[in-house]
Symmetry: C2
């Protein structure tokens, strides 16, 4: 007897069709351009909010898994782009710890700096580097999104994390102008904010 | 063609068998005792870590959905007890917003104060009250768990949230001694920490 439903979080059908696992995005800008294009396509196809993210192998740039905002269509307030990319990657690699010793070093690239929720998810995800596009200030100013009480020293807290092998590199503001444009497009279209 | 797997988060089979949706837990202590018993059973049956949580209707005490820690068995670092309870509840009520106007007021009761990840999840969940058992200090001292950089004024930030209709009541330390006992049991058994 099933008393409680399973939670199911999926990437959109167009992601399954258009995005290839293992495809290599060599340069940091290639990776950021890819996640910005996820955000843009997520608006165009009306499959969620204006955010894209992906987990890559740091050294090779091979794509592990993409994520887009799926809050409304997955009926799940936790289904922000970053968290979807992390959760799908953990499923792809069959571990809850993306920092497990048998894995290559992994990074999360996101079109917008994580909100308080995705910031929290980073801590137990196992990724060793985070690369962001727009800042919280830009996401709030342009998109009108509430990002929650992200501490001003958020990046330093990740860098200073103990034990040292769990500390995280943080690279901010890659292609931020291009990432801002997607938020501007969404704001002009009058999309939902959540 | 499916390139990327679905994420699936489930409650354990014993929860499906032993817990009844809609059952009423009238007093605050009844609700806390129930989530502590979820944590204890999750250890006994070896289905996850020593944490339990549940979403209830505030006025009636009717159970919406329970959650237990499912990190290892769901291959998902986000599957902490509180987040599982929130995600399953959103699925039960068919909305990403547990604060939607058509719903009764809902609360999350958790055997341990939320870590940085679950703290972040609270912000977009829509619950209007949080009730905790052990504090972060107790969870760390007894269970050896890393709870991340939860701000010292975390409860006040939830209470002061704007707009005012999104502010959250926070009640701390309900049956904390009983909640501590489950962490002590887990520590004695030498369970995994994640």
């Amino acid at each position: 007897m099933v008393s409680f439903p399973d939670v199911s979080i999926t990437v959109p059908e167009w992601v399954q069709r258009e995005v290839r696992p293992g495809e290599r995005y060599v340069m940091p800008e290639d990776r950021m351009r890819f996640v910005i294009s996820l955000a843009a396509r997520n608006i165009e196809r009306e499959t969620g909010g204006p955010f894209g993210a992906a987990v890559f192998e740091r050294d090779t740039g091979a794509l592990v898994a993409p994520g887009v905002n799926r809050v409304e269509l997955s009926l799940c307030s936790a289904a922000h782009a970053e968290s979807v990319a992390l959760m799908v990657s953990q499923r792809v690699l069959k571990t809850h710890d993306l920092g497990a010793p048998h894995l290559p070093k992994l990074e999360l690239v996101t079109s917008s700096q994580p909100c308080i929720q995705c910031y929290g998810n980073l801590w137990w995800s196992g990724i060793s580097r985070l690369v962001t596009g727009t800042s919280v200030a830009q996401t709030t100013a342009i998109g009108g999104f509430d990002e929650g009480p992200v501490p001003s020293n958020w990046a330093q807290l990740l860098r200073d994390r103990q034990p040292a092998e769990r500390s995280m590199e943080v690279v901010e503001g890659v292609l931020a102008d291009e990432a801002c444009k997607v938020l501007e497009l969404y704001a002009r279209k009058g999309g939902a904010r959540y």
